[in-house]
């Protein structure tokens, strides 16, 4: 065998190995894609319906007498009047067959409790409506909504369904009269958490998350970047203390997040008296969690700035600080921002430490400042996932979709920045 033959012989083996390896790679990639797709598919399938919501049209006779109003009612009277009664009247008139207590309660439960508030707001906005009969579109109760979305099988025996036969008959009648329609679920985005699934939304949790992120970003970014810049550019090298700090930062990155929650509870809430359940407390805890990530990625980005740039500036008479802030920082900023976004994305999805500092409470209000009690998106998901109502199941998935979209947008931004600014020298 001469040289070329030998090589040719080994070549066959090498090619086979290459092919095999490529196959393994393809296989593992397809498996992970399969998992991802089934996860997303499941969440999407469950969550998408939550973005639509059923409404019911009722012709309400705004009878001042039934509302218990005198001839010249003032704002207070209008506010306190019993609008629920008008809705009950209307429904009873439409479906006189509801006889038993149970049936009458079921009848009232065709529309959401929010209907009375909507009616009240409409009357206060326009008192002229009193005495007239007007059609109104109200939110349907969650059971009606779920049935309309086809998630309740009417062929099941009555005892196994949440909706009884007489309710089905009412819904069918409403449908045939064109009094039911499905529209985009704006409530989901404008309301905060609620005991009534059809009224529950993510606005409060979303705002809470944003406020928390704001606190985290405004603390973790400057502290992390300055720490990284100091460690890379100014700290004495081969110094025992600096090495110790470095090791500790790396260890901190590996600490389970729940430990940060405990720490936050003890230090920020217990010692410094930061209000419990507030985005401020959450932001502080998540800052602790995000700092190591930002410091480590920033240091890597700073290290990647070629030394020749530092030397060029120094040789022109720039001081160390001018080099650090005028050259090193701008050049490493894309890397630093990428790391920061990844750190923030982690923090956005973090649940465990927030549970410990009380952001898990039921909060029906939108927080207005970082001191107000609030929840966060992942915690809201956790809360809803714990609720038995069918309508909360789809809302859980819908909230997950919103959270995932947000995370994807953040990661896409990180990728975009890396692509846009890479290799400038």
């Amino acid at each position: 065998m001469n040289h070329t033959e030998k090589i040719q012989h080994s070549l066959k083996k090498r090619h086979a190995r290459e092919k095999r390896f490529r196959l393994y790679g393809l296989l593992s990639v397809s498996i992970s894609i399969l998992f991802l797709l089934s996860l997303l598919g499941d969440i999407g399938f469950k969550g998408m319906p939550a973005f639509w919501q059923t409404k019911v049209k009722l012709d309400i006779h705004l009878d001042p007498e039934r509302l218990g109003l005198g001839p010249n009612p003032d704002q207070d009277d209008l506010f306190q009047a019993n609008y629920q009664r008008l809705i009950a009247d209307t429904l009873t008139r439409m479906f006189p067959d509801a006889k038993t207590r149970q049936q009458r309660r079921a009848l009232k439960n065709l529309v959401s409790k929010s209907a009375a508030y909507e009616l009240r707001d409409a009357v206060i906005a326009n008192p002229q409506l009193l005495g007239q009969t007007r059609p109104f579109w109200f939110l349907a109760k969650d059971d009606v909504d779920v049935y309309m979305k086809g998630r309740i099988d009417r062929n099941l025996p009555e005892s196994q369904r949440r909706i009884k036969d007489y309710q089905l008959a009412w819904i069918d009648t409403l449908k045939s009269q064109g009094r039911l329609k499905q529209g985009f679920n704006t409530t989901f985005f404008t309301n905060s958490d609620s005991r009534e699934p059809e009224q529950a939304g993510i606005r409060g949790a979303f705002t809470g998350s944003m406020l928390t992120m704001l606190v985290t970003l405004s603390l973790a970014f400057p502290i992390g970047v300055l720490a990284a810049l100091y460690l890379e550019e100014f700290a004495p090298q081969n110094n025992r203390w600096v090495d110790l700090i470095e090791i500790n930062i790396n260890n901190l990155a590996a600490v389970p997040s729940i430990v940060f929650g405990l720490l936050g509870l003890a230090v920020f809430i217990g010692f410094f008296g930061v209000p419990r359940s507030a985005p401020l407390a959450g932001g502080l805890v998540l800052t602790l969690m995000t700092l190591p990530t930002i410091i480590i990625t920033s240091r890597a980005a700073i290290k990647a700035v070629p030394n020749s740039i530092r030397e060029a500036a120094l040789a022109l008479g720039a001081s160390k600080t001018q080099v650090a802030f005028g050259h090193v920082l701008p050049l490493s900023l894309p890397g630093i921002l990428t790391g920061t976004i990844i750190g923030m994305a982690q923090a956005l999805g973090e649940t465990a430490p927030l549970l410990l500092i009380g952001m898990v409470a039921f909060v029906a209000d939108v927080p207005h400042s970082i001191f107000d009690p609030s929840t966060a998106l992942p915690v809201q998901i956790y809360l809803w996932a714990d609720s038995p109502e069918r309508a909360f199941v789809e809302r859980t998935s819908a909230a997950i979709i919103v959270l995932l979209l947000f995370l994807m947008a953040m990661n896409a931004l990180a990728v975009f920045m890396r692509k846009k600014f890479e290799n400038k020298w």
């Binding site: 020749s308 030397e311 022109l316 008479g317 020298w425």
Partner: protein, 297 residues
Amino acid sequence: MTLDKTALVVDNNNNSTEVNLTGSASDTADMLDMTIGETVGKALLEDAKLNVRHANVFYGDKQAIHDISLDIGKNEVLAMIGPSGCGKSTFLRCLNRMNDTIPICRVEGSFLLDGEDIYDRRQDPVLLRSRVGMVFQKPNPFPKSIYDNVAYGVRLHGLAKNRAELDEIVEKSLRRAGLFNEVKDDLHKPGTGLSGGQQQRLCIARTIAIDPEVILMDEPTSALDPIATALIEELITELSEKYTIAIVTHSMQQAARVSNRTAYFHMGKLVEVNDTDSVFTTPQHPLTENYITGRFG
């Protein structure tokens, strides 16, 4: 002209692996016996720009420069040659205190610029480096526009009163670096987009924009093609009318073309320094002769 009595003791136990021998076996034997001894030639000058006396430089425990004394005259081009690792860059970087940035580097001896101690505690390295500029081996323009590259040092030291003056300095520096005509329409394009030779001339323009007194060049043409090299050599000759220049080079032809005096370094010691002509025609030290005749190095 008196030469300081700087006895350069050769450490015979020193591992001589850095001496890259290409000659015959007898040459090798010669080399190992050879004592470097005192610097031969004309190391000290009268009325010099830079005076270096008994310079010793250490990287940690390792000594990279052994007791070098050398003057660099006003408006002189001094070429530094020698085998790789002999300490040319180290010596050069002592002259503008760039070695300060290397934590393990320790410099001893006296370094005077116009009679002022460079290493004096009151000496500000920022001011020093504005007087002693440096051009590096690898062109290292900032990832900014051509204009901003040249304007950087000027802005840093507040040398221009207004935009018009800055424009003028930028143009003048680019012209002197022989780059202006090539880039005049692209002043706001990134400096990193230029060719290697253009980048190096940009770095020279950036250095002369702050009008230093001394320019240190560490193998400024080693990454360039012959045409770009010729351009830069021409430039060095022109610049020497105004500036004092110390240039490290691996090309003996280049040293012969651009310099007035040539210093030959060997294993951290200054072996010989003399007028360039005499170094290349009548080297006095056998090590120098070996090196310039291409027997090793």
